[in-house]
Subunit: 455 residues, 2 copies
Amino acid sequence: MPYNTTLFDTYIEQNRDRFLKEFGEFIGQISVAADKRGIPEMADMVVERFQQLGATVTLYPTPGSPIVYAEIGPQDAERTLMIYNHYDVQPEDPVELWETPPYEMTIKDGVIYGRGTSDDKGELLSRIQAVEAWLKTQGELPVRIKWVVEGEEEIGSDHLEDWVRRYSEMLTADGLLWEGGGYDEAGRIQMGLGCKGIAYFELRCQGPSHDLHSSVAPIVPNPAWRLVWALSTLKDPDDNITLDGYMEHVASLSEEEWASIDAIPMEFETIRERWGLSAWLNGMTDHAARRRYFSAPTITICGIQTGYTGAGSKTVLPAEAMVKLDFRLVHNLTPELAETLLRQHLDRRGFTDISITPLGGDGPAKSPRGSLVERAAIAASHDTWGKEPMMYPWFPGSGPMYPLSTLLGIPVIFAGATWHPDIRAHSPNENIFLKDYFESMRFTASFLSHFAAEV
Amino acid sequence: MPYNTTLFDTYIEQNRDRFLKEFGEFIGQISVAADKRGIPEMADMVVERFQQLGATVTLYPTPGSPIVYAEIGPQDAERTLMIYNHYDVQPEDPVELWETPPYEMTIKDGVIYGRGTSDDKGELLSRIQAVEAWLKTQGELPVRIKWVVEGEEEIGSDHLEDWVRRYSEMLTADGLLWEGGGYDEAGRIQMGLGCKGIAYFELRCQGPSHDLHSSVAPIVPNPAWRLVWALSTLKDPDDNITLDGYMEHVASLSEEEWASIDAIPMEFETIRERWGLSAWLNGMTDHAARRRYFSAPTITICGIQTGYTGAGSKTVLPAEAMVKLDFRLVHNLTPELAETLLRQHLDRRGFTDISITPLGGDGPAKSPRGSLVERAAIAASHDTWGKEPMMYPWFPGSGPMYPLSTLLGIPVIFAGATWHPDIRAHSPNENIFLKDYFESMRFTASFLSHFAAEV
């Protein structure tokens, strides 16, 4: 469905100052989910901005941050697009490293600074402004839009899945446009069709009621040893996962999937240098490393604490041992399944004394190649940047795609214009390029038109 | 060699106030080896006190605290007794828990309070005063005494072994009287013929140059996993040590040794309750637990630190992992041997990337039954308390007996009067019973006479 790009671009140009002023207001409203600062105020601000568009907006309370849900566009549109964004941001710490006030929009040399500029207020608002520009210059929207804007993305989206399950009948759509798209150092547009899932667990083992003198070791169970023995049964020294049943839920990849992974550009030498590595794990080749990086599920020890860990020696037998484990999930693995398998695995080996506390997670998401959203995003990439995007079959990171994409069965595309290689998301001096802020509007308009028109 | 106990006891009684005044001066002189406070001053004070006895005293400098070495008694005495004590003390922390000033002698309800009262200034000085009382009331000493008083016992006696090796020709003796003897809750006199050795190591494994996002786990070596895998090869889940070659250096015990262990009274139920345990390791019986407690070598995880260990979840792949290990050594195991075996064991399994830093240690000491010092101590126990002592074949703890006893081949006895069950050594409100302070003098005199006379 072609649209009048001249009118669209002119409108954006004419409203440039107001759009940026609105962006400044979004940045100025603190909305830190971690300590709940400004969350209701920010949610209200998003509701109001959707109302200005003429959208039907509902604020859904959750046990955490409320979810803003907006619908706009013809009720009888042939296609429905779901869009996902979030209005919460990371804390500003360490605040002393900011060169500009974190909650004040500062524009300098073509860069907009402030907490949330790129993650994710810039993309959220530029998409809203793109819809406004479409409505003002093209008339009716070419699709129905269902917009989910949550307020807990930065702390694990703990209440999104329950909400999705509850309102699944309302949440039908033909495709899902995700947040956070961008490009790499070489200017290659990065798009993706999913991501790995994640499950995070804390395991604890109790020993004596307090640290004992280590001379009692011959007769007192040591929780540190028990944890080491239990952990050593989960993965072997060749890095093969040996957790009972885990790998049965991991399908092998198709030739097409391997090919799309092989095509992903990676600066292996640069990355190894940056990470201080002389070689990849087990000395694998770059080719093998790329395949494993994108495809493999993991069980990672993120941290262990037990006993005395200060300077010098202290002869103690620890009262407790704790490990934090991060499971990256692919294919059919879910956090619930991972927990069940882990519990059974430990019990089967007599480690019933080791407790498992789940600390959040999400299943994986993986959309099929050739979906409508993928084709629309590729076409919009050609329109906006004049080039073919790099299409990742999925990202090695994790995020809350699972409930909206996997659970609801909606193909997802991770695509957009706002993430350049130095956005410093989650860090001081978070920023977005001024040009990208407006390019995001053009990409959004093009995406809408192709999503409506692709056959 | 009987001696006139009436004269001896009367002298002690008559000099009671001066003896306590001297004790107050010893307590008043801070001598914390950990932070080197007052060490030279305390060493000088000990030298001076020996000189008052008429001893030949030498102050041997070491890279740490100096060693005070005194000889006294007839050059041509038939027998030579070596005595070991130390003049350093533990730090006074946490000082706010002291009910009296730590470096001021306070006598209250028959108890003398102050840092070092029991560990080990009380025993050191009461033994010196016993020698004075002998000289003043009996004439010449019945034996030659070689007295080693070190100033680093509380921080691992790191320089004692070198000194012993250097002066081994000077350090000949027929028996060695150790520091720290006492009695238990039931009033049973506890004596011992040795102790386990100890070796303390810190192992480190390096991963990437800094903590990475855990999504890179499929291709980046994780030092926490490597440490877990390495540790799991050292001991199996049934608590059997599987370190290559370690157990080959451990001889089995004789029937007589098992019998003397079986005879050691232990309040199993009380101890389990105090430690918060429902059962011993692997559910072993009390009988088996006592045998294992006294006889088994150990490898104990005292502490592990790696990655993120704060609240909640943080998805990191750690840059480093560290473990502190404590080996309790018996029979022919030494710290040097333990380190060599550990290095070879790790290398053989490809863990060449795990570094080992030794943090001190001592070999074990184990004197044969029936030695002169043992017989003298048993006889002195009958003289002093009118009862047979509990004779431990060795103690499950560790100490610097190895250089003076094992290396020099001198049978050792751990025996004395100053340790009651609530002395709070190393803790606030360290104390010694007033009566025990003087009983230590009587025990010492009796021990000297029996050591000279036993056939």
